[in-house]
């Protein structure tokens, strides 16, 4: 209170002064101002000067004294502190997991995880692993990996910068770039870390990312790490995306200076792992140029699957790959190795070599896994017919699964990983999962290996409904697919009634 009064007084003083000097200025010109002020000083009564002096001192005091004490409220004695420390009881590090938690006990695979797979001791046909092209079982790939092992050993013992770059890494990057017909490619040692590192390499705090609601978990984590402003649009809904872009455009017009430094990105998946459908890429590219937004495309499910030569969703739609700013995919599905890669123009990709966290700070990919990926690429290039075979099988499986009683098939005919959803949910996720698990178990007993699609219920931004995943690979024969569809139908009839 006191402070305001004093300040007010002082302000008044100055105002009066200024008015007086203003009139002088106008009357007599600049040089008279000083003389006038000195004169005024002499003419002023002593009490005025004393008062003013006190006020000035007071202001100085106010300026240099703290207005409030920061530590005031925590003025605890040592003893009180000790008591607080004594009393504090933390939560346990982790809550106890009930013994019957549905995802605590994993299915155990013995033997190679290939087309014929032994799950929990039962030999089955694999309808669960993302081994789309069957390259996991390829003798050529195995032998190439073995010869690489004999040359380099297993581990790389260092990140790429510190003698962790092997000649095979460079070869693989070159081959991937050539395969995708882009300028450059960069490899990561873990599929999950690829897009999760790539997004924060470009998108920073304050930037805006437009993301499809069905985006996979690694995209979500990349967005979180980037600390950017995230706007979700409805799954594959271009009108909704355009609405958001327009909103942003209006926002930009309000503050064009700020708009000039905000980067914008659209992050989509080529073929959504959670929704099993394809993104409308041509429309996205149109929107990209209309609103000047860059497109990041995650192609883990579509690389080596879609398109005549397996180049993914750009080839599927005939979109110029240079229109996509960044494509990322993992090498763990179609290529059946480990790791991931990003490709695009050098201007974009090269930036990751110093800013991609998963690239700079992690040990590089074991050379034998890089060699395996190179050999897998060789096979894909030598025999492009394989993609046609896969696509036909996907269509076949999609058709065969239609009309399963009580189950809804989600996904486009070209998708190698379909979802089977309950037509009528019981209303509780746990019960739904139990029903679906019963179908999986029923199939396991009849030599069909299926799996539930697993999610972290609390962590997912938009939790997909519970589902069974059915994966199609080129190794599955017509009969096997029929058998699987038949088996699922039986199970559905029996379990869902």
């Amino acid at each position: 209170m006191l402070k305001t009064v004093v300040l007010h007084n002082v302000l008044m003083e100055t105002v009066i002064r200024r008015r007086r000097s203003d009139s002088v200025k106008m009357a007599a010109g600049q040089q008279w101002v000083l003389v006038e002020m000195v004169q005024a000083f002499y003419e002023a009564p002593a009490y005025h000067l004393i008062l003013e002096g006190i006020l000035i001192l007071w202001i100085i005091r106010l300026l240099f004294s703290k207005t409030y004490k920061l530590q005031e409220r925590s003025d605890l004695t040592e003893k009180e502190k000790e008591e607080l420390i004594e009393e504090w009881q933390p939560e346990p590090l982790v809550p106890l997991v009930p013994k019957d938690h549905p995802s605590l006990n994993y299915d155990v695979v013995t033997g190679p995880p290939s087309h014929r797979i032994i799950v929990n001791g039962k030999e089955c046909i694999n309808f669960a692993s993302f081994n789309f092209l069957g390259l996991l079982d390829s003798e050529r790939v195995k032998l190439k990996a073995l010869s690489s092992l004999k040359k380099y050993g297993v581990g790389t013992c260092g990140p790429r910068g510190f003698y962790g770059t092997f000649d095979v890494h460079l070869e693989l990057e070159e081959r991937l770039a050539k395969f995708m017909r882009t300028e450059e490619a960069i490899i990561y040692s873990y599929g999950f870390a690829t897009i999760a590192s790539a997004i924060p390499a470009y998108s920073k705090r304050g930037d805006i990312v437009f993301v499809d609601e069905a985006a996979c978990f690694s995209i979500q984590k990349g967005l979180q790490a980037s600390r950017s402003f995230v706007k979700y649009f409805k799954h594959n809904d271009m009108e909704d995306l355009e609405r958001l872009l327009k909103e942003q455009e209006i926002e930009d017009q309000k503050n064009p200076r700020k708009a000039r430094v905000i980067r914008r990105f659209i992050v989509v998946e080529g073929l959504y792992i959670n929704a099993a459908d394809i993104c409308p890429l041509p429309e996205l590219v149109k929107l990209k140029y209309k609103y000047k937004v860059r497109i990041f495309l995650e192609e883990s499910m579509s690389f080596g699957v879609l398109g005549e030569y397996g180049r993914g969703v750009t080839e599927h739609f005939g979109v110029n790959i240079d229109d996509i700013d960044l494509i990322s995919a993992n090498m763990e599905n179609a290529l059946a190795s480990i790791g991931g890669f990003c490709c695009g123009r050098s201007f974009v990709i090269d930036h990751q070599r110093l800013s991609g966290q998963g690239y700079c700070f992690s040990a590089s990919l074991p050379p034998m896994l890089a060699s395996a990926a190179i050999e897998a690429l060789n096979i894909m290039e030598e025999d492009p017919g394989i993609f046609r075979v896969l696509q036909d099988k996907c269509k076949h499986m999609h058709k065969a699964l239609q009309g399963t009683p009580g189950l809804k098939t989600v996904g486009e005919p070209l998708t190698p990983a379909l979802h089977l959803l309950l037509e009528n949910s019981t209303g509780s996720r746990t019960n739904d999962l139990k029903l679906l698990r019963a179908i999986v178990d029923y199939s396991l007993d009849r030599q069909i290996a299926l799996t539930l699609a697993r999610y972290l219920d609390k962590e997912e931004r938009f939790l997909p409904p519970p589902s069974i995943r059915v994966v199609v690979t080129v190794e599955q024969t017509q009969e096997e697919m029929e058998k699987a569809a038949q088996c699922i139908r039986e199970a559905a009839v029996k379990i869902l009634k």
Binding site: D107, L146, C157, T165
Partner: protein
């Protein structure tokens, strides 16, 4: 000195100027410290909490000489001025610009990255970048073969000449126990698995990618670490960044060492808990944060924290320092915090049986709540693990991001870890593992002592196989790498931003695979290059200790 209760007294700050006195070291290694450290070396030791340590804890961080600091700042100044000059010339097309350009169609987009962000890369890093990313074409063992490359445009592009530089001594790879091999038990076993299983798994742990081999590895890892249960993950970096968010969340506090690895920092950030940073390996700083956190609670609401998690590493790979684990455990117990220990560099490399930093200090693994580590280094494979109580691991099995969304570890890699771990544990019926651990400890002590005697400034703990040697100036960072490589020795340089701006350093990683001859050759060359580049900065005289034969080390002595 007794303002902190609980019998904890203030210790001098980390890089104190203090002499090792006989009493401090509990009488155990007094002769050691004198012989090893000479008389006036700056030593950081467990002054007051000496009784917590079962062995001498000798860590030195010699202060940067003032003149050098000034010169280093000046050299950055000169580089910056020239950088601006060249950027100016590039702008006016006087000098050719080598950086990749944006497409014409997208020129009017918001720039993908700010040009000034890359100033450092373009004008400083680019000039010495030939010291990094050198492709190798053999096993990264004690020696390796490098792909020869040259640049005609000052490192903007590299050309591979097609020749190979043979038999370069490898002081750069984290091959602590020398398991980077293409022959021998590990490679054979991994090879057999490759032929039988292939390399990929193409599914996640929770779906169809959980093989019995993985479970076997987890059991072995748990018994190796001395914990109830363990879980393995496909990538070391992701082990941190994908599991920390499963352990802590909103309303929890993370206390993180300022020099923690990027993966820990990322994991902490993804967990959306509050993060506070304490000074590197500084127990006073940690205790103050712990006290304040509990006394004041969460900011604004003052609700008590749900839990407090301390994140630390066993060996810090840039400093060569070892965590003050006995003190950290005492603090964590006193304040009921949890400890997450990242043993990426210490597992296999420390302790009599290679069990890491816990064994090194003779402590109980149960006192560390989360034991994390990687298989990349000592085991020469890939991936990481988390070990701890059964309820912790059960929780991770159901809630780890990695178990649900990431592809499982490749089987040949699993086999490499299984075989090398069995070897370290002596389960293969040989003493190869033990002798390697011993060899590494001997090599480490020998190499560090010799470098100190030569007058280099060496950072870190005497027992740490990561040996940072200070170079300070950015130009010397490049020159040192090149000169060493000319003499067929591969070293790693680290500069800004991985270190503080004036503390550029070379980093040697000692391996059990190094023979004494190799180390001696390397040391001779380092000395030669050190003279050439005037790198022998240390102002502390360390007397050569010729009376001590090579193989009789402190390591063995102290175990009695």
């Amino acid at each position: 000195n007794t303002d902190l209760p609980g019998g904890w007294c203030k210790r001098p700050p980390l890089c104190c100027r203090c002499r090792p006195t006989h009493g401090d070291l509990s009488g155990l290694g007094e002769s050691v410290s004198v012989v090893l450290m000479g008389i006036a070396l700056q030593v950081c030791h467990a002054a007051c909490n000496g009784e917590l340590y079962s062995r001498p804890f000798i860590e030195s961080f010699e202060e940067t000489p003032m003149l050098l600091a000034v010169l280093t700042y000046m050299s950055y100044g000169i580089l910056t001025i020239f950088g601006y000059l060249r950027d100016f010339m590039r702008e006016w097309k006087i000098e050719k610009c080598h950086t990749a350009r944006e497409r014409e169609e997208q020129k009017d987009f918001v720039p993908l990255y700010q040009d000034f962000e890359n100033f450092y890369t373009r004008n400083i890093y680019m000039r010495i970048r030939d010291s990094w990313n050198r492709p190798i074409c053999s096993v990264p063992g004690a020696t390796f073969d490098l792909v020869e490359c040259s640049s005609n445009d000052y490192n903007w592009t590299f050309e591979y000449t097609g020749r190979v530089v043979k038999d370069v001594i490898n002081l750069g790879s984290y091959n602590y126990l020398g398991f980077a091999e293409n022959t021998g038990a590990c490679a054979t076993a991994a090879g057999e698995v490759t032929v039988k299983f292939g390399v990929g798994v193409a599914s996640t742990r929770q779906e169809m990618g959980n093989l019995d081999r993985h479970e076997e590895l987890e059991k072995l890892a748990a018994s190796f670490l001395g914990v109830e249960s363990a879980m393995v993950f496909g990538m070391g970096f992701a082990t941190n960044s994908m599991n920390i968010p499963a352990l802590v969340g909103k309303g929890c506090l993370i206390l993180s060492d300022e020099l923690n690895h990027a993966s820990l920092v990322l994991g902490a950030r993804l967990s959306s808990s509050t993060i506070r940073v304490f000074k590197h390996n500084n127990m006073q700083s940690l205790e103050k944060l712990l006290r304040d956190a509990i006394v004041h609670g969460q900011p604004r609401t003052h609700r008590p924290w749900k839990k407090i998690l301390i994140l630390m590493e066993g060996i810090y790979s840039m400093e060569g320092s070892i965590i003050r684990l006995p003190e950290v455990i005492a603090l964590k117990k006193k304040y009921k915090a949890y400890l997450y220990l990242d043993e990426a560099h210490s597992i296999g490399a420390l302790g009599l049986n290679g069990r890491g930093v816990v064994e090194y200090f003779g402590l109980d693994p149960k006192d560390v709540d989360v034991m994390m580590g990687t298989f990349t280094k000592s085991f020469s494979a890939a991936g990481g693990y988390v070990g701890g109580r059964k309820d912790l691991i059960d929780y991770l099995r159901t809630h780890s991001h990695s178990a649900i969304y990431a592809t499982t570890m490749s089987l040949p890699v699993v086999e490499q870890i299984l075989t090398s771990m069995k070897c370290i544990m002596g389960k293969d019926g040989t003493t190869i593992g033990l002798s390697r651990i011993q060899r590494l400890a001997e090599n480490t002590v020998y190499f560090r002592r010799r470098l100190q005697e030569m007058g280099f400034i060496i950072y870190g703990n005497n027992d740490s196989p990561v040996v940072p040697m200070m170079l300070y100036m950015p130009a010397k960072l490049g020159a040192f790498g090149r000169e060493m490589l000319k003499r067929n020795i591969g070293v790693v340089g680290v500069g800004f931003p991985a270190t503080p701006i004036i503390e550029s350093r070379a980093r040697f990683c000692i391996s059990a695979a190094h023979t004494k001859e190799m180390l001696d050759r390397a040391l001779d060359v380092i000395s030669e290059v050190g003279d050439l580049l005037h790198l022998k900065y240390s102002r502390h005289k360390v007397l050569p200790s010729l009376d001590r034969p090579f193989d009789e080390t402190t390591y063995e002595e102290n175990e009695e």
